[in-house]
Amino acid sequence: MDWLNWLVYTAAIVIIIYMASVSLLYIGMFLVAGPRIRKERQLNREAHIEEISMNKDTFPISVLVPAYNEEVGVVSTARSMLALNYPQFEVIVIDDGSSDRTSERVIAEFRMKEIDLAIRRYFDTAEVERAYQSTLFPHLFLIQKQNGGKADALNAGINFSKYPYFAAIDGDSLLDRDALLKTMKPIIDSNGKVTATGGTVRIANGSRIVRSEVEEIALPKTPIVLMQIIEYFRAFLIGRLGLSRMNMLLIVSGAFGVFEKNRVIKAGGYKVNTVGEDMELIVRMHKSIKDERSDQRIEYIQDPVCWTEAPSTISSLRSQRRRWQRGLAETLWTHKSMLLNPKYKGIGLFALPYYLFVELLSAIFELLGYVIIIAGLVFAFISWEITLIMFIATVVYGSLISSLAVLLEEWTYHKYPDVKSLLKLFVWSLTEAFWYRPLTVLWRCEGLIAAIRQKGSWGNMQRKGISEEEAA
C-alpha cells in the first residue's frame, strides 16, 4: 500500500501548491484592479458622462434583446431599454421561437405593427418569419424567428440592426439609465480604438425594482443568492478588471456588452451550437484583432450596471453552473491553437492558460482536495497536518479574495445604504468554503463531463420577474 500512500501524499502536495498559486494569482489581480478602482472611487460619474449624453457625435447603437420564453420579464426589459438615457438608439427584441407568449406580450404592450423585411445577411440564421415596429416607440422593433439558440438570435439581430454599434442584453436583465452612455464612453474617447466593452452585472434579487428601475438596493434573504452576489463582485471587480487592464479580457458578459458591429462581422458573428457564445466571440475578436495586427482593445469598465435575476434555487443554479463550465470548456477547446501561442501575446500566453488552469481545471483540483480532506479525516490515511494545511488553503483561498471583493464593491458603487449590509456580505463570504464552494465545484465538474460528452442545451431558468410591476 506504500504506492497508494505516496500517490495520495503527492496529490495532496500538488493540490496545496496549486491552491496557494491560484490564491496568489488572485491577489496579484486584485493588486492590478484595486488601484484603478481606488483612483476613480470619488469620481463624479454623472458629470463624467454629461457631455456625451447631449453630444450628437455619440455613436448610435442598436440594443439587441434575445428572448426565449421570457414572457414574464420581456416587457419589463424592453421598457427598461426604452428608458435609457442615450442620444440615438434602437431596441430590437428577438423572439427566438418562444413557445410561450413572449411575442404577444411585446406586441400588445407596445402596440406593434408588422413591417416587411429587407434584411441584410451578414450571417445565416434560422428563418426570420416576421418583424414588427412599435407605433408608440418607432425605435422599438420585434423580430420573430424560428428557434436557433441565443447566438443565432443575436446574429439575426445584428442582421436586422442599422447602427454601427450594438449592445447585447439578456431578456431577463435591466439596465441603469446611464449604463449605455458609460459603456460607450471608452469607445467614444478612444476614437474607436476600443472595439467592445463590458460592464458590471449585478444581481437584482432583494433590491426593490419598480417600473423597470432599481429604486432601492438591498440584499436578498436567501444565502444562495447572497453568495452569488459576492461571487459576482469577485469575478467582475477583480477578475475582469484585472485582465482588462492588461488588455486580456476574454469575457464580456452575455448579460450586457457593447460591440463594434464591423469587428463582430469580421470575426464571423456569434457561434451557434455552443453554450458559451459570449466568451467564444470575444476570443475570436481578439484573434481577429491580433491577426490584423490592429491596436484595438476590448475593455471592461467597473461602473455601468446591468441588473439580472440570479437563480434562487439549487436546481437552477446547478443548471447555470454546468452550462457555464461547459461553455468555457468548449471555447477553450475551439481555440486550443491559440493556447500558449506567442503570436497571440498576452491572450495566448496568459489569459487562455489562466482560464484553462484556474477557471476550468480548478474544479477538479478542488474536488480532489475535498475528497482527500474528508477521506483523510475519516480513514486517517494521510497525516492530520496535511489535512489541516489543505483545509486552511481552501478556506483562505475563497474568503480572503471574497472579502477584498466586498471592499472593491464599496469603493466602486457604494450604494448599500448601511454598514449592516456590508457586514452581512462580509460574514457570508467567510462561510463560502464550507458549503457554497463545494457545491459549485461539484456542478462545475458535472459541466466538464457534459462538455466531454457534448451534452446540454441553452438551458432555462424559471423566472419570477424582477420588476414589481411585472410580477403583479
Binding site: 472611487r41 458629470a47 453630444n55 455619440t58 429587407a118 418607432p138 474617447d189 472579502s403 466586498v406 454598514v419
Partner: protein, 344 residues
C-alpha cells in the same frame, strides 16, 4: 512547515479583520458625512437661492469646517448652475464660487487625488470660474496621460476662450472628432473664424469643423462646408455631405449629381439621403435606379429618399411592385411599412 502555514493563514485572517474594520468605519463615516452635508444643504437652500438671485444681500452662514462647506456649496451651486437664466445670475454665481471655492480648487489642482482633480475641473467649468484660467493652463501643461483629466482641462480652457486651445488641438494627432467638437462648442466665434481661415489645418480638425458647422446650422459657414464637397480626401467629402444633411440645404442641386453615380457607396448613400431631405423630385428616376444598388445602405437611403418625395407613396408602390431588381422590391416594401425618422 505547519507553523509557517499557520502563521501565513493567521496573517491572512488578520488582514480580513482589518479590511472588515476599515469597511465598517469608513462606511459609517461616509454615511454621517453625507447626512450632515444634506442636512445643512436643506437648511440653507432657500435663503441661499434668494442670495444668489440677488433678492437679498444677506449671505446665509455656512459651516466652518472646510470639507463640509465646500460640499454644501458645490451642491448648491451645481443645482443653481443648471437652472440659471440671464447673465446677472451667472455673474453672481461666478463671484460666489470664486470667493469661496477658488483657493480650495487651486489647492486641489496641485495636491488632490486624480478623481478630486477631475471633479474640480468639472465644477470650474460649471461655475465659469475664469479667475482660475492660469492655474488650469499650468495644470494642463503638467499632464502626461491623455485621459479624462486632460480632456476636461481642454474643455475648461476652451470655455474660457483661451486661444492656446487651437494650438493644443492642432498638435494632438490622436484627438477624436467628437471631442474636438466639444471644444468648438465652447470656443468664441472669433477663434472659430481664425481656424476657418487657416489653410494648413490638419484633416482631423477640418472634419471636426465641418461637422460642427452642420450641427450649428449657421449659414455663414455653409460656403466652407460646400467647398469641401470636392476635397481630395473621401472622408472630408463625406463629412461635408453629412453636414449638409444637417443643414438640409445646398446652394445648387446640381452639385449632388456626380455623387449619385460615385464609385464609393458612401457617397451614393449620402447623396441619396440629401436628395430625399431636400425633396428634389428631379432625381426620382435616379433614386429609383439606386433602389436596386448593390449596397444595402444605398438601397435603404434611396427608398427612404423616395418616400420623402411629395409623391413618395406612389413611387414606393411602383418600386415595390414593378422594380426589375428583387432587392429593390424588398426594400421598397420594407420602407412602405417602416416608420422612419430623419437619419443623421
Amino acid at each position: 512547515m505547519i507553523t509557517v502555514i499557520l502563521w501565513i493563514s493567521g496573517a491572512f485572517l488578520l488582514l480580513q479583520v482589518i479590511v472588515l474594520l476599515y469597511l465598517s468605519v469608513s462606511k459609517q463615516k461616509g454615511i454621517r458625512h453625507d447626512q450632515k452635508v444634506h442636512q445643512i444643504y436643506k437648511h440653507v437652500l432657500v435663503d441661499y437661492l434668494a442670495y444668489l438671485d440677488g433678492e437679498t444681500d444677506q449671505e446665509p452662514s455656512l459651516p466652518q469646517e472646510e470639507q463640509i462647506r465646500v460640499k454644501v456649496l458645490e451642491k448648491l451651486l451645481s443645482g443653481y448652475a443648471s437652472n440659471i437664466k440671464g447673465s446677472e445670475n451667472e455673474q453672481r454665481m461666478r463671484r460666489t464660487a470664486e470667493r469661496f471655492l477658488a483657493d480650495h480648487y487651486k489647492h486641489v489642482l496641485q495636491k488632490g487625488s486624480w478623481a478630486e482633480r477631475v471633479n474640480t475641473l468639472f465644477f470650474i467649468e460649471d461655475y465659469q470660474m475664469n479667475v482660475l484660467q492660469p492655474e488650469v493652463k499650468t495644470h494642463y501643461l503638467s499632464l502626461k496621460d491623455k485621459d479624462e483629466e486632460y480632456r476636461q482641462s481642454l474643455r475648461v480652457l476652451a470655455s474660457f476662450g483661451d486661444d492656446s486651445v487651437l494650438g493644443m488641438l492642432k498638435n494632438d494627432e490622436d484627438i477624436a472628432v467628437g471631442f474636438m467638437k466639444e471644444c468648438f462648442r465652447r470656443l468664441p466665434a472669433a477663434l472659430i473664424e481664425t481656424l476657418k481661415k487657416d489653410s494648413e489645418l490638419p484633416v482631423q480638425i477640418k472634419l471636426g469643423l465641418i461637422s460642427y458647422f452642420g450641427e450649428t446650422g449657421y449659414y455663414e459657414h455653409l460656403p466652407y462646408v460646400e467647398a469641401h464637397l470636392t476635397h481630395e480626401e473621401k472622408e472630408v467629402r463625406l463629412k461635408a455631405f453629412a453636414s449638409l444633411c444637417q443643414y438640409r440645404y445646398i446652394s445648387s442641386a446640381d452639385k449632388i449629381s456626380p455623387f449619385l453615380s460615385s464609385e464609393f457607396w458612401e457617397e451614393r448613400m449620402y447623396a441619396s439621403r440629401l436628395t430625399g431631405l431636400l425633396q428634389l423630385t428631379r432625381y426620382s428616376t435616379t433614386l429609383m435606379k439606386l433602389a436596386g444598388d448593390s449596397n444595402w445602405w444605398v438601397r435603404f437611403a434611396a427608398c427612404e429618399a423616395l418616400k420623402q418625395m411629395p409623391d413618395g407613396e406612389v413611387l414606393l408602390t411602383f418600386a415595390a411592385e414593378g422594380h426589375e431588381d428583387l432587392y429593390a422590391r424588398d426594400m421598397a416594401k420594407q420602407l412602405q411599412t417602416l416608420k422612419t425618422g430623419v437619419s443623421r
